[in-house]
């Protein structure tokens, strides 16, 4: 090898290394705002917490005034039979709307993502090992089919306007985030509701396909949460 070619090779190596360093430095410079971003992030985090607190305060006040409304309504209609009939009708509608807590016989279902240590994780897709919004949607649909009168999922009551949607890595119900383990309370005839755990039912498909753990217990008394802050309708109007 001649001296000349040696020098050229060395020169090229140095050039490549220098270019490499320059590229790296440029990349680092572009991301140089780490500290100010952190500050903004913390700021944002505290804003989120504050807003959440504000909402919770507001929710508590709403809860209180609704109880007051119910007692007032009940008292005022006590000595008038016709009004009492109307008051009872309204009370039934409120139960149907899900604005009151509900108690009764039924079932409690739990659905848990596949155990990370379960060997089946090696042969199934990661996305099949987690419970999706569509899974909860199917289970709730089967419960309705089995005549459930009130349903909640992780404390979120399923009402007329409830959507069960996908929100990144979690599921949003009534706009609030919920995640595994899912606990579903349903009121209805326990014998009928327990048919959800039948061969070929959706729960069994979840268990067979991905070892997603599903349990179902019949109960004499199940408590279902209420949902009081449903949107007021803006578009639909009653006509005769």
């Amino acid at each position: 090898m001649t001296k000349k070619s040696q020098a050229i090779i060395l020169g090229m190596v140095c050039l490549i290394l220098t270019i490499g360093i320059c590229v790296q430095i440029k990349t680092v410079n572009n991301n140089g705002t780490t500290t100010s971003a952190n500050q903004e992030l913390n700021n944002l985090k505290s804003q989120v917490l504050k807003m959440r607190e504000k909402y919770e305060d507001s929710y508590a006040r709403l809860e209180k005034i609704q109880t007051e409304l119910e007692t007032t309504r009940s008292n005022i209609t006590n000595n008038n039979e016709q009004l009492k009939i109307l008051e009872e009708e309204l009370r039934k509608y409120n139960v149907l709307l899900g604005t009151t807590e509900a108690k009764g016989p039924g079932v409690v279902i739990t659905i848990t993502d596949t155990d990370p240590k379960d060997p089946i994780r090696l042969i199934i897709d990661n996305k099949d090992a987690v419970v999706h919004n569509t899974d909860i949607l199917e289970v709730v649909n089967e419960l309705k089919n089995a005549g459930a009168e009130a349903i909640d999922v992780n404390g979120q009551r399923i009402v007329d306007t409830t959507a069960i949607s996908c929100d990144g890595n979690v599921i949003a119900i009534n706009g609030e985030k919920v995640s595994s383990t899912f606990v579903i309370n349903a009121i209805g005839l326990p014998e009928r509701l327990s048919t959800l755990k039948r061969p070929g039912g959706y729960l069994e498909i979840l268990e067979d396909d991905a070892h997603i753990k599903c349990t179902l217990d019949k109960k004499d008394k199940v408590e279902v949460s209420k949902y009081i802050n449903a949107n007021k309708f803006k578009y639909a109007k009653t006509i005769e």
Binding site: V13, L17, T18, G20, I21, Q24, T27, V28, N31, A37, N38, L41, L44, K45, V48, R52, K54, Y55, S58, L62, I65, Q66, E68, L69, T72, T77, N80, L83, L86, E87, L90, Y93, V95, L96, L97, G98, A102, K103, G104, G106, L137, E138, N141, K144, E149, V159, D160, T161, T162, A163, I164, I228, A230, N231, K232, Y235, A236, T238, I239, E240
Partner: protein
């Protein structure tokens, strides 16, 4: 002469070593800044989170004001039984509207949801991806619409209420909604913000996913459309007072 060559080699070797070292140090710094890019992702999430709570707060406040107004009407000392009856009836009307127990009208969309035109022929061919519209498709469609704030929905004139379920009766054509048989083509009427409703079906990929199966979804915006009430049984047997 030979000694000089060794010195040169060592010098160059050292220079290369230092350069490589610097390069690795840089890699490490860059690797760390990758974490901040996850942080910026989190920032987006935080912003949506903030907007979510704010929206919920506003809704709760609005509901609070409405409840307060109703309470005031009941409490007014001068109010007669007639006034009380009026307030009660108003509350009942509002409840029935949400429950789907009244005929309603409002702006919205009419969605026409159809199977592939030549599904009978293509369904038996092996390479065909055509698929009949099933109960799950309708269930998901309705869920997307509710997510976009739909206030009233009907499918082939079956009003969708809270207890409505979608059941597949056989593999192909029949679906039961409210225990009544329906089959494609489906005419879905929705009251709500037409842009939101459409956006929910297109933006989530629902429309394009269903297209892959040969199904078609068409939208028609309406300034005013009417949806019939649910006229089935609303009795409760198991919820205790």
């Amino acid at each position: 002469m030979k000694k000089g060559k060794i010195t040169i080699t060592i010098t160059i070797g050292l220079a290369c070593f230092v350069l490589v070292l610097i390069l690795f140090m840089q890699f490490k710094v860059v690797y760390q800044t990758d974490i901040t890019s996850i942080d910026t992702m989190k920032e987006d999430e935080l912003r949506t989170e903030l907007a979510n709570w704010k929206q919920k707060y506003n809704e709760t406040e609005e509901k609070y004001k409405n409840t307060e107004d109703t309470l005031k009407k009941y409490k007014e000392e001068s109010s007669s039984d007639k006034d009380t009856r009026k307030t009660l009836e108003k509350e009942i009307e509002d409840a029935k509207l949400v429950l789907g127990l009244t005929n309603v009208e409002g702006p919205g969309l009419i969605i026409t949801y159809k199977n592939s035109d030549n599904i009978e022929q293509t369904i038996n061919q092996e390479e065909s991806t055509d698929k009949y519209i099933g109960a799950t498709d309708l269930l998901r469609l309705v869920n997307h619409l509710k997510d976009a704030g739909a206030e009233a929905i009907s499918i082939n004139n079956q009003r969708i209420i809270n207890k409505t379920d979608f059941a597949q009766i056989n593999d192909t054509t029949y679906i039961k909604i409210n225990s009544k048989r329906v089959s494609a083509p489906f005419e879905i009427k929705v009251i709500g913000d037409a842009d939101y409703l459409k956006g929910a079906l297109i933006g989530t990929g629902f429309v394009s996913d269903q297209k892959k199966y040969g199904q078609t979804i068409e939208f028609e915006e309406k300034k005013k459309l009417t949806i019939n009430k649910y006229d089935g049984n609303m009795d409760l047997k198991y919820i205790e007072e």
